[in-house]
Symmetry: C2
């Protein structure tokens, strides 16, 4: 905006000035410099748009003491993760920001800077949004848009009997990282680097956007793991009308998580039910497995085969050392 409308009644910048200073520099082509009332996007011919929205609330999805850049990165990252799991390349996003009474220009500058960095890292430019005053803590809502060649969005509902179940990266780090903040006894078994790894995985989800194409080309069904592996797997199996057998020992744990579970074996349950992983869970025919793993490797993403899709309607079974375990309420619920 050529002439921002100046300062609000409290001496801090008014809304227009705030948008011009902090957010307009992040705007992609369709965002029209955030100078209009809406964004304008010319969809690529022959492509479908994939749309997802996620809200983040203070003290639920992040902690008030978290760095503003981390909060920004997480808000965008969790949405880009959803797109990736659908096989979609990011197109852009809109941000609704409800700022608490006590916001400062320093906080907002750091937030915008982190958002800009994440936006560049994920190739997902800002298209528009809204900034208002919150009635409680900070609340953010991101709507992200992605695109896929027409008809190729990967559904949650299409897992088939015989498919191999795969998951990217490692599972449980974020849940353990959050738990670490309460300084549990097992933390003493971890090195400072291992503790930092877990803490970072909670703060900074790493959406697997570079894997979108491989997911699209190889997977029958996919979703991102945000509410815990066991629960999200159960959701995908239920939506597809099938069941699953998972070999617990093949669930990929980081060295730090492995050490934590060795110190307190009960933490394995936390790892597979805890949430905030933002990895991709997918099923694919065995014949596609090698190519999928190879393509993932070429974009720096580890893929682990953790089980099989089987006939049935029960919750997935986790086989562990001869025993079997079902996580019936294995999914984080906000309510």
């Amino acid at each position: 905006m050529a002439e921002p409308s100046g300062h609000g009644s409290n001496g801090r910048p008014g809304e227009d000035s705030l948008i011009a200073r902090f957010f307009a520099p992040l705007a992609g082509e369709g965002g029209l410099g955030l100078k209009d009332d809406a964004a304008c996007l010319s969809p690529r011919p022959g492509h479908d748009l994939v749309l997802t929205a996620d809200a983040l609330v203070e003290s639920v999805h992040f902690l008030p003491e978290d760095a503003p850049a981390s909060i920004a990165r997480k808000a965008l990252g969790v949405n880009v993760s959803d797109l990736a799991a659908k096989g979609a390349e990011p197109v852009g996003f809109l941000l609704s920001l409800a700022l608490p009474e006590a916001w400062t220009e320093e906080w907002l500058a750091a937030f915008a800077s982190g958002l800009g960095q994440a936006s560049r890292d994920f190739s997902c430019p800002l298209l528009g949004g809204d900034t208002v005053k919150a009635s409680g803590g900070l609340t953010l809502s991101v709507t992200a848009l992605g695109e896929v060649p027409a008809g190729t969005m990967v559904r949650r509902t299409n897992a088939r009997v015989g498919d191999v179940i795969c998951v990217t990266g490692t599972i449980g780090d974020a849940a353990l990282g959050l738990k670490l903040r309460r300084a549990p006894a097992w933390a003493g078994n971890l090195s400072p680097e291992e503790r930092a790894h877990l803490a970072d995985r909670y703060l900074h989800p790493q959406p697997r956007h570079r894997l979108a194409r491989a997911v699209r080309e190889h997977a029958h069904a996919a979703m991102d793991v945000s509410d815990g592996l066991a629960g999200d797997l159960a959701k995908m199996m239920r939506a597809s009308g099938v069941s699953a057998i998972v070999e617990a020992k093949t669930v990929p744990l980081s060295p730090a998580a492995r050490k934590a579970v060795a110190a307190d074996p009960g933490l394995f349950d936390l790892a597979v039910t805890g949430g905030d992983d933002y990895e991709i869970l997918c099923t694919l025919p065995e014949k596609n497995l090698d190519s999928f793993v190879k393509e993932a490797d070429s974009v720096g993403v580890m893929v682990s085969a953790i089980g099989r899709v089987v006939d049935g309607h029960e919750a997935a079974v986790f086989r562990m050392q001869g025993a079997e375990r079902r996580y019936d309420a294995g999914s984080f619920s906000h309510f």
Copy 2:
């Protein structure tokens, strides 16, 4: 979802069950029954997508005692109003809902019912969203998508010297309706019907989506009036590098607003700076005026010509009974 995941820890429905019961029935085709992690939209060839997001916060954009159906209608309506002002027909919307601790199933059922009614009235189906627990009062964020034939989105920045300035409906009713709640002295001059009219205009914005095509075909520049006529006009003129002269007596007031202003002449300033009108403000060449008024009339929308675009960079002048008035800080600011 075939088998909703049951009830949360407090005996109220869990998130999946809540989505299945309250929101899935509102889903449009691209929403995939809200059973997947994302919506999938096949854009109409030859069309651009228009995107807008607006957040609504309790005690700022609505009052906690407002009916849930009214809050839902307003959240969608203010976004559809933005689309209409850009000349865009609604395609669908995503909703992020942060519910306060004390939400009830009754509240949510009424909210969803109002949202469904608004969605049908505005031809704008639900595509997806997110439901989380708020850390304070209710916060909603809607991202709405519309479409226009490629290249025809109406900008805020394109007002031209000589254009006639038009506004739809009536101005100031919502601001007066909100003020009414404090039982001001002038309320006594109004009939119960007139008071009800003003109150209703605050609660229930009437987006001018039926006018989208006429705006697209006739207007040079347009935006919706949400932060006060004077301030929004100033924004549009500034963005277009021009100025404006408004004949105050032609600013359309409802009979109720007219009576209020007669009782307390200072209320005219409130009417033109108060916000929440959700009318369309646009500029168009004089030769288009008759057709625009006629087409608006055919979809039941009144249009008033209130002034002219002129050369200059100063705030718009409101001419009233020989005097001139500039509203320099005439726009509601959240900050």
